[in-house]
Symmetry: C2
Subunit: 187 residues, 2 copies
C-alpha cells in the first residue's frame, strides 16, 4: 500500500544512460563533479544510497505554491516528459538560503509569484518546455530541489530566455547554489 | 555544512526512554504496534533505519500554511518543549488522503484555516500546550506528519478539548489514518 510512496527519482550518473552531458555550468555556489552520461530512474528510496559527490535525487511531491487556478491553466498546456522530438534536457539543482526557508508561506509565495512571476513566466513557455520538479530538502540532501526540463533543439533559445528571466527575479536573490547541466538524448 | 540538514527526529520505542505510554487509541485507519516507553531523539537520517512496525520519524521543516502574521502571533505565545511541569505528552501521527494531497496549495490552505481554523484554534490553547510538527511524507513514511504535544497534568482536559475540536473540522474529513498516543514523563 505504501510502496509507491517510497519511490525517489534518481539522476544516476553511473552506467550507460541515454542522456549525454553537453555542458555543466556552476551558476552560483560550489560546483558538482563533472559527469558524462545520465539516466533518470525511479528507485526505491531506501535502496538508493546517498552520493555526496553527486547528490541528485528527489521526490515528485505536492505543489507548495501553485493555486488551483494556476494549476488548471498549466495543466491545459503542459506537455508530458518523453516527447520524441524533445531531445534536449536541462537538469538544474537549486538550494535557497536560510533566510528564504525561514520566511512564512505567504512571504515566500509573494516573492515567488506576486513579485517574481515564477509560475506565470513558466506558463509562457508552454507547451514548448516540459518540466518536472523534484523535492529533496526534507530528504536532507544539499540541494532543495532538482528541476528537469525537456525541449526540442528548435526551442533551445527560448529555454535560454526562460532561465535568464527567472534568474533576474527577486526570488533568485535567495538562490545560494545552482548548477545548470545541459544534456542531449543519444540517438 | 549540510550535516544539520540530515537530522531526523525519531520517536524511538526501544530502550528505557523517559516517556511512558499510558494510552494508545486508533482514531481512524490501521493501528500501531503497542509500545511501553519512548525516547524523542535527534538522529542522523541515514543511520535511523525504517521500522515498518513503528514508522514514527520526521523532520522539523519549514511551515507549509502559517502566514507571517499568524506566525508572529504564535511565536509571541508558544512555549518551548521540555518545560519541567509539562509531564504529559501526546504523539499523534496522521495520514491525509490522496484527495487532500492532490489539491492545490490555496485549496488546502482554505480548508485548513479559512474553513477549519486549525491555526487559530491551536493558538487559543497557548501557552498551555507546547507543540512541534514533524514532516514525514516526503521521506516515504506511511504517516504524513507526526505531531508532539507537551502539557501539564492540570491542562489535560483542555488538551482533550483541543483535539476534539480539531477532529470535528472539515479538514479532518481528509484524515485517513490517525493514532493518538498519550504519555507521561517518568519521575
Amino acid at each position: 500500500m505504501t510502496a509507491s510512496r517510497r519511490l525517489i527519482t534518481h539522476f544516476d550518473p553511473t552506467g550507460d544512460g541515454p542522456w549525454q552531458v553537453v555542458r555543466m555550468k556552476t551558476v552560483v555556489g560550489s560546483p558538482l563533479q563533472p559527469i558524462d552520461r545520465l539516466s533518470v530512474v525511479e528507485r526505491d528510496l531506501d535502496s538508493t544510497p546517498r552520493d555526496a559527490e553527486w547528490p541528485l535525487r528527489g521526490v515528485s511531491s505536492y505543489g507548495r505554491y501553485v493555486t488551483f487556478r494556476e494549476r488548471r491553466a498549466l495543466e491545459a498546456q503542459q506537455p508530458p516528459l518523453g516527447r520524441p522530438d524533445a531531445t534536449c534536457a536541462a537538469l538544474i539543482p537549486i538550494t535557497k538560503s536560510a533566510i528564504w526557508w525561514d520566511m512564512a508561506q505567504d512571504e515566500r509565495r509573494t516573492i515567488l509569484e506576486e513579485r517574481s512571476a515564477h509560475i506565470a513566466t513558466g506558463q509562457q513557455y508552454l507547451p514548448a518546455i516540459a518540466r518536472r520538479l523534484y523535492q529533496s530538502r526534507d530528504l536532507g540532501e544539499p540541494f532543495d530541489f532538482v528541476t528537469w526540463f525537456e525541449y526540442a533543439p528548435a526551442d533551445a533559445q527560448i529555454f535560454e530566455d526562460l532561465v535568464s528571466r527567472l534568474r533576474s527575479t527577486e526570488e533568485w536573490r535567495y538562490v545560494e547554489r545552482e548548477v545548470d547541466i545541459r544534456l542531449q538524448r543519444s540517438c
